[in-house]
Amino acid sequence: ASAYAQETKIGFIVKQPEEPWFQDEWKFADQAAKEKGFTLVKIGAEDGEKLMSAIDNLGAQGAQGFIVCTPDVKLGPGIVAKAAANNLKVMTVDDRLVSADGKPIEEVPHMGISATKIGEAVGQAIVDEMKARGWKAEEVGAIRVSYDQLPTAVDRVEGAISVLKANGFKAENIFDAPQAKTDTEAALNAATVVLNKNANIKKWVAFGLNDEAVLGAVRASEGVGIAADGMIGVGIGGADSAINEFKKPAATGFIGSVIISPKRHGYETALNMYEWVANGKEPEKLILTAGALAKRDDFEKVRAELGIE
C-alpha cells in the first residue's frame, strides 16, 4: 500500500466519455497533469452504478481525490459518502451535486455553468439573429428538439424558450420534436415531422440539447426545401460538429453555437484538485464560467479566446 504513497493520483470521472466535450475536458486535464507531474486516471461512468464502482476503483488504486461530472445530480449524497468511505477528496465539474431535498451540496467545490444559463444564451442568439433578419415573432415557428429523459436537456431548452417568450414568441408557435436518441438522425426524423405538420410556416428557429440535435433540425429543414435564410439554428457545445458546419462552403441554417470552454473545466479543475491534495490548498467552493456564442465568421477567434485551438 505504501508503494504509491508519494505519487499523486487524481481521478477524473465523466458521464459520457464518448462525447467530444468530455474528451476535451480530459485532454486539458491531462495537460495539467503533465505540467504538475501527477497521474490522471480517466474513467467513464454512464450511470450511478458505474460511478460508484469507479470511485471504489480509484480508492483501490490509491488515488487521493477526484473530479466528477455526474450522470445525475441527485447522486450527490451517494458520491459524498462513497468518497468519504474511500478517503478521497471530491470536486464537481459541469453539473453540481444536490442533496435529497434538491438543494446544492455546498461543501463540494464546483466549477460549471448552469444549464439554464446556456439555454438563455442560445435563446438570446436566436432572438438577435431574428432581429437582424427582420423576422417577426408571430410568423416564425420554433423547433424544440427535446430529450426530456435528460434533466440537463430540459433545463437548456427551457432556458432558450424563456428568452424567446420574453421576446414575443407565442407558446403555440413552439413545437416539440422529441428525439428518441441523442444523435443527429433521431433529431432529424423528429424535426421533419414538425416541419411537415406545419407546412404553412416558412421561417423557423431551432434549439436543443447540443449541436447534434440542432444540426438534425437544420438538416430536416434542408430536406423539406427550406433554404438557409429560412432557418436559424443555434447549438450548444461548439466542437467539431459545429465547426464542420461553419467550414462548409455555403452558409447553412446553423448559424451559431454557444461554446463552453472545456479548457477551464478540464485544466483548472485538475489543477485545483492537485493543489488541494498535494499542497492542502482548498479550492473555491463555486466557480461559474460563461458560454460564448461562436458564429461562422468568428468561431476561430472565440475558440482561441477560450483557450481551445
Binding site: T192, N196, D240
Partner: protein
Amino acid sequence: MTNSFKKILLGDQGLVVIFVLAFALVSVFVPNFLTERNMLGLLQSVVTVGIVACTMMFCLAARDFDLSVGSIVAFAGMVAVMASNATGSIMVGILAALLCGGAVGLINGVVIAKFRINALITTLATMQIVRGLALIASDGRAVGINDPNFYQLALSKLFGIPSPIWVLAILFVVFGFVLNRTVFGKNTLAIGGNPEASRLAGVNVDWTRIWIFTLQGMVCAIAGILLASRITSGQPNAAIGLELSVISACVLGGVSLAGGRAAIAGVIVGVMIMGIAENVMNLLNIPAFYQYIVRGVILLLAVLLDNLRSSALGRR
C-alpha cells in the same frame, strides 16, 4: 367470406391486412398524416432501419443474430467521409465504406461459422470493437464532409422522390427476390429451419452463413453512407441501439427468431409499423415520456391482433 379473401387473412402475411387497416385509420384520423411531404418524411425516417432489416431478415432466418449493425453503420459512415475527404473522390469513399463494412461482416461470419462461436457473443464483441475503431479513428468527434457533392447522395431526387427511398425500395425488391427465388435464399431458410438436415443434404452451411454476414456488413455500409450524407458528417456515435429496432421490426414482421421463417412483405410491414408509430406520435404531439408507453402498447397490439386474427380464423 369468400375463399380468396380468407386465404389472404389467414396467410402468413396476415399482418399486412392489419397494417393496411391501421394505415387507413391513421390516414383518416391523424391530421397532416396523408400528405405527400409527410409520406416522404416518413419513408426517409425508416431508410436506415429498413435497409439493415433486409439482411437482418436473412440473418434471423438462418437462426443467427447480429448486434453489430449499429456500429457498422456508424463506422462505415465515418470511413466513407474520411476516405472521400482524403482522396477527394466520393466514389473511393463509397467503395472504402462498402469494403470495410463487408470486411467486418466477413469477420463476423467466419468467427461464427468456422470457429462456431455463438453469434450473440461474436457480434456483441464486434459491436464494441467496431464502435471503438470508429471512435478512435475520429477521436470521438464528428468528421465533416469536404465535398458538398457528397450531400447529393441523400438530397438528390428522382421523379420527386429522394434517392435514399429509391435505394430502400430497390433493396427490398432485390432481397425479396433473393430470399424466395434463389438458391442462396432457400438455403438460408433451410439452415434456419433445420440446420442438421441442411448439412446432411449437402448445403454449404458455413459458406452460406459467412455470406449472410458479409452481405449484412455491406448493406449496413450502404445505410451508413446514406446516413452520413443525410446528416452531412460522419458521426462515431450514430446509430446506437439500431440493432434492437431492426430486430424488432423483423420479428414484428413475422420473421421467426427460431429460424426458418421470413418474408420480405412482413419485414416491410414491420419496418413501416414502427416508423408510422413514431411519426404519428410526433404528429399528435404526444409528450416524450408517454411515447414510451404508446410505443410499447403499439408493439403489443400489433402482435396480439395478429394472433387474434389467426386464431379467430381457425388456425391453431
